[in-house]
């Protein structure tokens, strides 16, 4: 029985790349390869290739950052929600996003990256988050379009991740997916009510759908022939479907749902290709995607500044809580003595 410090802490060692592998490493690698080929799960204390660890740490922390930054466009509308009911729903949704960020930070931490390091990287602008959150939410209908399209795309992406080969990531995704479905439904309902409202309300709903449609399709990532890391991620059972497959599936769902809304998608090239069995859509502006990713989107600077501000404004709370904990621990020790 070893006295390991934490359940899900990574073992030291296995940081080698160029030198010859030791007996232990060979056994570890063989076990890793066997587990992947059996479609089993890798757990934090298992041996894993350095590239697998890095890929996951990057993907999971980016995913966590996206949840945290993703609170901003919606939090902005809490005080302007049109009714108490909508306000309560929006608050619950934003709280969920915070929770999802925390589940994912915990999962990323099991790979050996400390929590505070991830926060620092985000605030210093070293880490990425989903480019979708760099678009502005300009009307109340955007709360509907974000829920329906953005959360819809997120769900389409995330459901297969519940089966990701890395145990902690898959478990976090299961929890997230369970909670996420309310997000999409409440967005759909906002749009449905606006679409059945006054002509101006319907126009506002259509405008929001028009603006969020293409960015939500780009959430699935670059086209397959321009997505260099996808193949390896699929070989490792992290990713289960390619970007284009998921995007096509999503378009197929939206094209039906938009009819119920009585709205249209701003894309007259959508069709089902019988030969490939895939939904096709108009070409997307990948230059825009790259620009936003490179930090030149409409709200990049604002999102980062707000996140930084929140972190700095909260510093005294973290310090006070730590001081209080220390004081109580000291008092308890005194009493015991």
């Amino acid at each position: 029985m070893a006295t390991a410090p934490a359940v899900d802490q990574m073992p030291s060692g296995n940081r080698s790349e160029a030198r010859t592998e030791t007996e232990d490493e060979r056994a570890g690698r063989e076990q890793f390869e066997r587990l992947i080929s059996e479609d089993s799960r890798i757990e934090p204390r298992d041996w894993m290739p350095e590239a697998y660890r890095k890929t996951l740490a990057r993907q999971i922390s980016q995913h966590a950052h996206s949840e945290i930054i993703g609170m901003q466009p919606e939090a902005n509308w809490i005080s302007r929600a049109p009714s108490l009911k909508r306000k309560a729903i929006l608050m619950a949704k934003v709280q969920d996003e915070a929770g999802h960020g925390l589940y994912l930070y915990s999962a990323a931490e099991t790979l050996g990256t400390p929590r505070d390091k991830m926060t620092e990287d985000l605030i210093a602008g070293k880490a990425r988050y989903s480019s979708i959150f760099n678009y502005p939410a300009v009307t109340w209908a955007d709360m509907g379009a974000i829920g329906w399209l953005v959360d819809g795309a997120a769900i389409a992406n995330q459901v297969p991740l519940c089966r990701a080969s890395y145990g902690p990531y898959g478990r976090a995704m299961v929890r997230i997916c369970k909670e996420e479905s309310f997000h999409q439904r409440q967005g759909f309902e906002i749009l449905l009510e606006l679409a059945n409202g006054t002509p101006a309300q319907k126009e506002m709903a259509q405008d929001a759908v028009n603006r969020w449609y293409a960015p939500s399709l780009m959430m699935f990532g670059p086209p397959d022939d321009d997505s260099p890391n996808s193949k390896q991620s699929m070989a490792w059972n992290i990713k289960r479907f390619s970007n284009d497959e998921l995007r096509s599936r999503f378009v197929g769902m939206m094209v039906e749902q938009v009819k119920v809304l009585g709205l249209t998608l701003p894309d007259d090239e959508i069709r089902f290709n019988e030969d490939t069995q895939q939904w096709e859509h108009a070409p997307l502006d990948w230059n825009e995607f790259k620009e936003v990713l490179a930090g030149r989107g409409p709200c990049n600077a604002q999102r980062m500044e707000r996140r930084r501000e929140a972190h700095e404004d909260g510093a005294w709370v973290r310090e006070a809580a730590a001081a209080y904990a220390d004081k109580r621990a000291a008092t308890a020790q005194q009493k015991a003595a």
Binding site: A2, A4, R45, D96, S106, P114, A124, A301, E305, R308
Partner: protein, 115 residues
């Protein structure tokens, strides 16, 4: 402060380097949730908190937002003792080949009722 506007600007000024915060990282706690009376506490995840009391409160906010639990345990992650991950094979070897510990091993009684 950027104000309440969501339309945003695109000021491309790089942020000044962050002053390092003077504090130790909060310890890691493992969270266990009892979903209803009569069931065991099951591991739900982990979180960081400065002390046990805050850990329980954070666990409530993080892991029971939808009535998932009637009771919570938080345990400092550093207090959990685990089996040695490198000794998996040998450590769990004992039950191997001992099928007779399972009812399904006994097939001669197939068809006998209430057995």
């Amino acid at each position: 402060m950027t104000g309440g506007s969501t339309t945003g600007d695109d000021g491309s000024t790089a942020p000044a380097p962050l002053a390092p915060e003077k504090r130790q990282p909060w310890p890691l706690w493992e969270v266990f949730v009892r979903s209803s009376r009569g069931l065991s506490h099951v591991h739900a995840g982990s979180l960081h908190a400065p002390d046990a009391e805050m850990a329980v409160r954070n666990a409530r906010d993080l892991y029971t937002r939808r009535n998932e639990g009637v009771s919570l345990w938080v345990v400092p992650a550093s207090s959990i003792i685990t089996s040695d991950p490198d000794a998996k094979g040998q450590f769990f070897e004992s039950p191997q080949g001992k099928d007779y510990r399972h009812a399904t091993y006994y097939t001669k009684s197939d068809g006998v009722k209430h057995l």
